[in-house]
Symmetry: C2
Subunit: 275 residues, 2 copies
């Protein structure tokens, strides 16, 4: 964590916590990349414009891939105290949300800052996070996906058995080396703790996986969902995902499902590191 109280320009700084939602369809993911439209890039530019400073660098809880959505993303930025204090309306109506209101007029409609507040001492969007929760949505209706949700739901052409997928998912819970489901990065651990993995048919034709862990390695959720769907449609036995996990190596038989069914829904922080 960088020392509090001083920004890159040497002035007095403070750390902001931003709660963010976005439709990932038209973004090349969270992380900024030269020449690409990314959530981080768009947000940093908007913050610089509203604060009339150099775009501040954002730290983030979940570096979502291209096409992945978020309704509960959390990030932080260190900004000059003077710039924060100069946000119009800050001291008038709803001062804590004045920055979010200004950003609403500057950001494109596919990304919204729901709240922008001064973070508690020591807060870091990435390192303070205790858990991340993702949802993956699948339609197995023969007619396809509800047009009003087609950007956020995968059309899966085989009917799936939600109870079988839930049973298979139970075999992936706990603290394990999830290398079987991760795109490996040199030197990065693939040990994680999955606290929740359940499937529910929230309405006819719509099956939703909810997965919560301390963190996820790259592609992990989408690879696990791919393995579970193979159980759900009857192609694999219920203990297949647990067998994959135990093997600790990637199996080419596992399909990484497309990004657009995936949404980062919530990030948890300890009580003293949230509002």
């Amino acid at each position: 964590m960088r020392p509090a109280g001083a920004d890159a320009g040497g002035g007095r700084s403070l750390r902001l916590r931003l709660d963010v939602s976005y439709d990932g369809t038209d973004f090349s993911g969270w992380a900024e990349q030269p020449g690409r439209r990314t959530v981080q890039g768009v947000l940093q530019a908007a913050l610089g414009r509203v604060l009339r400073t150099k775009p501040p660098k954002l730290g983030v809880a979940g570096r979502t891939d291209a096409g992945v959505h978020a309704t509960g993303q959390v990030c932080h930025a260190d900004v000059e105290q003077s710039a924060w204090l100069a946000v119009p309306g800050r001291s008038v109506r709803a001062p804590a949300h004045a920055l979010a209101l200004r950003l609403a007029d500057v950001l494109p409609p596919d990304v919204r800052v729901r709240s922008a507040i001064v973070a508690p001492p020591g807060f870091d969007a990435r390192f303070s996070a205790l858990w991340r929760r993702y949802a993956y949505r699948v339609s197995d209706a023969g007619y396809g996906v509800d047009p009003l949700r087609r950007r956020f739901v995968l059309w899966y052409r085989r009917a799936v058995d939600v109870a079988a997928m839930a049973a298979a998912g139970a075999g992936l819970l706990g603290e394990h080396d999830y290398a079987a489901f991760c795109r490996l990065r040199p030197g990065a651990s693939t040990v994680r703790t999955i606290r929740t993995l359940h499937w529910a048919r929230t309405e006819e034709g719509l099956a939703v996986a909810t997965i919560e862990a301390d963190g996820f390695c790259h592609n992990q959720v989408r690879a696990m969902v791919g393995a579970l769907l193979a159980v759900g449609d009857g192609r694999r036995p219920i203990d297949w995902p647990a067998q994959l996990l135990a093997a600790k190596v990637r199996d080419p038989a596992v399909t990484v499902v497309p990004p657009h069914g995936l949404t980062l829904e919530a990030v948890g922080y300890p009580p003293d590191a949230s509002e």
Copy 2:
């Protein structure tokens, strides 16, 4: 109603009932127009392709305007019995839905046929309908609209009082001449019966109007919602919409709200005219 049992080509025909959903964003409304992408045009072409016939003409419950969505639209088509019987898979798995399954592969993802079945005797999507139900969705959150729903929710920049709008809406219930809220069409009656008009805050920042009537004249829902929002944000008194209604002439002070917040959610038929 056209006589049952004979189609335009002289062969034996039958009437199909189609239950349809669409994202209206990229359509020039329901009704076909030369050179425009319309729901009716796209659906008729897809039906012709799957049935290998001339595109059949569709009758419809609600002729939605450009930009208006539907989750519960109902339409009918008279098709040659021989073409219906020739739909692949019709007699194998889920015969009643074989046509819907075939249409899923032919239609663009912003329109879906959830069900396509032989209609009961005398069924007419327009004239058999007893009621239509629309929802209009408004976000009055300072940060804007949830990016995942921005195509279907109006961003209203003033906070609204849902209880005040519900009270004002009660003054519009019953059988009345709604000329004050209708774009007049020569010779068309503007007398309608509104059975339900309520507002609910379904979650923080989201207010939803639900309006059910035997039918609606052109622009009626959007003009009524515009009048109610003016009550909700405090610019007009609660009895203003009822006063407008009583005047029976359009008042330029009424704003017709944009189409994208509006969704046709359900159409009701008598028991013997539905499945």
